[in-house]
C-alpha cells in the first residue's frame, strides 16, 4: 500500500509540475500568442492609462503582424516598473516623469519639466536599457482649478493671482494632500506665501462636481481629468512651479525594440499628438459617456488615420 501511495503521489506531483511549466512557458491559442511574436503592454487601473494602452495596442496591430496583449489593472507605478524589470510587459503605456523620478529612480524631485524628462530618459537607458519616449503631449499633475466665471471676475490666470482673494474662497481638496510631504499644503504655503483659510477636505472624485455646482470656489484637481473640459473649468498656471512635472510618456524595453526594429518608428508617431485638452476630452468620453477605453482609442486612431504617412 505504501508503494502505491508513494508512486501515486509522485505521479500526481510530476503531472502538476509539468503542467505548470508548460502553461507558464507556452502560448494558449486565443489567449496569448507565441512569446516572440507578442507584445505585452502594461496599463494602470486608470482610465487614462487604459486609453493610451489601447491606442498603442491598436496602432501596433494596425501597422504590423504582431499580436498585442494588454496586461491591465497594474496597481501603481511601482508595479509597472517591476513588471518591466521582470520582463512581464514590454511596454508601459503611461509613465509620469515626476512619479518615476522620485519613485523608480529614487532621486530628488526636479521642477523643470524639460530637465526632468532629460534625466529620466538618460537614467532609464543607462540603468535598465529602457527607452523613455518623449511625451505624448500632456501631463497629469495637481492643478488649481476654478470656474471660467470666477477666473474672469478676479482676473485669474496663475496660481499667484489667488493670493489676494484666497481669504474669501472655499478651497476643496483631497484629504491626503493636506498632510502630504513635499508637494502638499505645507510646501505650498512656503512656496507661494499665502494660505487658504477655508479648506474643505473631500474625496478627489468629488471636487469637479463641487466646483461646477458652486459648492466650492477653487479646487485642487488632476489636470487631465475629463470633467475639467466637460464642466468648462479653468486650470490656473503653476507659475512658481511648485508641483513636480508629470509629463506622460510610454516606456519600452530596448530588448523588444531591437527584436522588432519597426516598433520604434511606430511608437514615435504618438509623440506630441495629444495635448492636455485632448486627453481630458478622451477621459471624459470614457468615464462620462461610458465608452470603453478600447473604443475611445479606436476613434482617436481613426481620426488620425492611424498616423499613416507620418514620420
Amino acid at each position: 500500500m505504501n508503494q502505491t501511495l508513494k508512486k501515486t503521489k509522485r505521479v500526481i506531483t510530476i503531472l502538476i509540475l509539468s503542467l505548470s511549466f508548460i502553461l507558464g512557458a507556452c502560448s494558449l491559442p486565443g489567449l496569448s500568442g507565441a512569446p516572440e511574436n507578442t507584445i505585452r503592454i502594461g496599463t494602470l487601473n486608470t482610465t487614462e492609462s487604459q486609453i493610451m494602452g489601447q491606442v498603442v495596442k491598436q496602432l501596433i496591430e494596425h501597422e504590423t503582424d504582431l499580436e498585442v496583449v494588454l496586461v491591465n489593472n497594474l496597481g501603481s507605478s511601482i508595479v509597472q516598473h517591476q513588471a518591466m524589470l521582470d520582463k512581464q510587459v514590454d511596454i508601459t503605456a503611461t509613465r509620469y516623469t515626476g512619479t518615476d523620478l522620485s519613485g523608480a529612480l529614487g532621486m530628488e524631485p526636479v521642477n523643470d519639466p524639460d530637465e526632468a524628462m532629460k534625466i529620466v530618459q538618460k537614467e532609464f537607458k543607462e540603468r535598465w536599457d529602457q527607452t523613455w519616449f518623449d511625451s505624448y503631449g500632456f501631463d497629469n499633475t495637481y492643478a488649481f482649478t476654478v470656474t471660467k466665471e470666477l477666473a474672469e471676475k478676479y482676473g485669474l490666470e496663475k496660481v499667484s493671482d489667488l493670493a489676494d482673494v484666497a481669504g474669501e474662497l472655499r478651497f476643496g481638496v483631497d484629504n491626503s494632500w493636506i498632510h502630504r510631504e513635499g508637494d502638499g499644503y505645507q510646501g505650498f504655503v512656503e512656496t507661494y506665501g499665502f494660505e487658504f483659510p477655508k479648506i474643505y477636505p473631500m474625496q478627489i472624485g468629488l471636487v469637479y462636481e463641487a466646483l461646477a455646482n458652486d459648492e466650492m470656489d477653487v479646487v485642487l484637481a488632476y489636470s487631465s481629468d475629463g470633467r475639467i473640459a466637460a464642466f468648462n473649468l479653468k486650470i490656473l498656471e503653476d507659475d512658481k512651479k511648485f508641483f513636480p512635472p508629470y509629463d506622460t510618456s510610454l516606456v519600452a524595453r530596448n530588448e523588444v525594440l531591437r527584436e522588432h526594429p519597426e516598433l520604434e518608428g511606430i511608437l514615435n508617431k504618438l509623440v506630441g499628438t495629444i495635448d492636455t485638452a485632448k486627453m481630458q476630452k478622451m477621459n471624459y468620453e470614457a468615464d462620462g459617456e461610458k465608452r470603453e477605453p478600447a473604443v475611445v482609442a479606436q476613434k482617436f486612431l481613426e481620426e488620425h488615420h492611424y498616423f499613416e504617412g507620418v514620420e
Binding site: G75, S76, I78, V79, Q82
Partner: protein, 216 residues
C-alpha cells in the same frame, strides 16, 4: 524570508486585527444566513410546488460569480462593511437553504408518522423529529457555506470592508510580495482549519447509525 519576519515583527498586531476583521465579517454573514435560511428551508418543505421553483431559481443564482454579485452591491449599498456582509449573507443563503430543504424533505415518512402517532404538534415534530434527523445535511450546507464565505471575504476588502484581502490587494498594488503572503497564508489556514473543524462538528451531529452509510 527575512522580509517576512521583518514584516511580522512590524505588523504583527495589524495582522491579528485584520484576521479578526475577516473572521468577524464571515461569522456575521454566516450567522445571518443560518437564522434566515434554516427556518425558510423548513417552511419550504410545507409548500413543495413553490419550493421546487424557488430551489431552481436559487440554483441558477448560485452559478453567478460572487465577484459580480459583490460588485452589483456597490451602486446599491455603497462601500464598506454593510454591503460586504449583505452580499456574503445572500451568497450563504443558497447552500444552507437548499440543504435544509433537502434534509428535511428526506426525513423518512414513517418517522414523521410516528411523531404524529405520538400526538406531537407540527411544531414539535419539526423541533423533535425533522430538524434533528436533518441536522447532518444542514450542517454540511453550513460547512460548505462557511468555508466559501471565508474565501470570498477576501474580496470584501475591495469594497472597503477590511479583512485579510487588504494585504493581498496592497501587495499586488505596491508590488510587495511579503504583503501578498501575509494575506494569502493566514486566510488559507483560516479556511482549512474551519473546514476541518466544521467537518468534525458534522460528524459529531450525525447520529451513529447514519454515519457508516455515508459515502465519500
Amino acid at each position: 524570508m527575512v522580509n517576512l519576519l521583518d514584516f511580522l515583527s512590524v505588523n504583527g498586531i495589524e495582522l491579528i486585527v485584520k484576521t479578526w476583521e475577516h473572521i468577524y465579517i464571515s461569522l456575521i454573514a454566516i450567522f445571518l444566513g443560518i437564522i434566515v435560511a434554516v427556518p425558510l428551508g423548513v417552511l419550504l418543505t410545507r409548500v413543495p410546488k413553490i419550493a421546487n421553483f424557488i430551489l431552481g431559481l436559487l440554483n441558477v443564482l448560485q452559478t453567478i460569480p460572487s465577484f459580480a454579485i459583490l460588485a452589483l452591491f456597490i451602486p446599491l449599498l455603497g462601500i464598506g462593511l454593510v454591503p460586504a456582509i449583505v452580499a456574503l449573507f445572500l451568497y450563504s443563503l443558497m447552500p444552507i437553504l437548499r440543504n435544509t430543504f433537502i434534509g428535511i424533505r428526506d426525513v423518512k415518512k414513517d418517522l414523521i408518522e410516528a411523531g404524529i402517532g405520538m400526538g406531537m404538534t407540527e411544531w414539535e415534530r419539526i423541533r423533535l423529529v425533522e430538524i434533528p434527523l436533518a441536522t447532518p445535511v444542514i450542517m454540511s450546507g453550513i460547512r460548505l457555506a462557511t468555508v466559501f464565505l471565508i474565501g470570498w471575504a477576501t474580496l470584501a476588502s475591495y469594497i472597503g470592508a477590511g479583512g485579510l484581502g487588504d494585504y493581498i490587494f496592497s501587495g499586488m498594488n505596491l508590488y510587495k510580495p511579503e504583503y501578498i503572503l501575509a494575506g494569502a497564508i493566514p486566510v488559507t489556514l483560516l479556511a482549512l482549519v474551519t473546514d476541518l473543524f466544521l467537518g468534525k462538528v458534522e460528524t459529531l451531529v450525525t447520529p451513529k447509525g447514519i454515519r457508516k452509510s455515508k459515502a465519500v
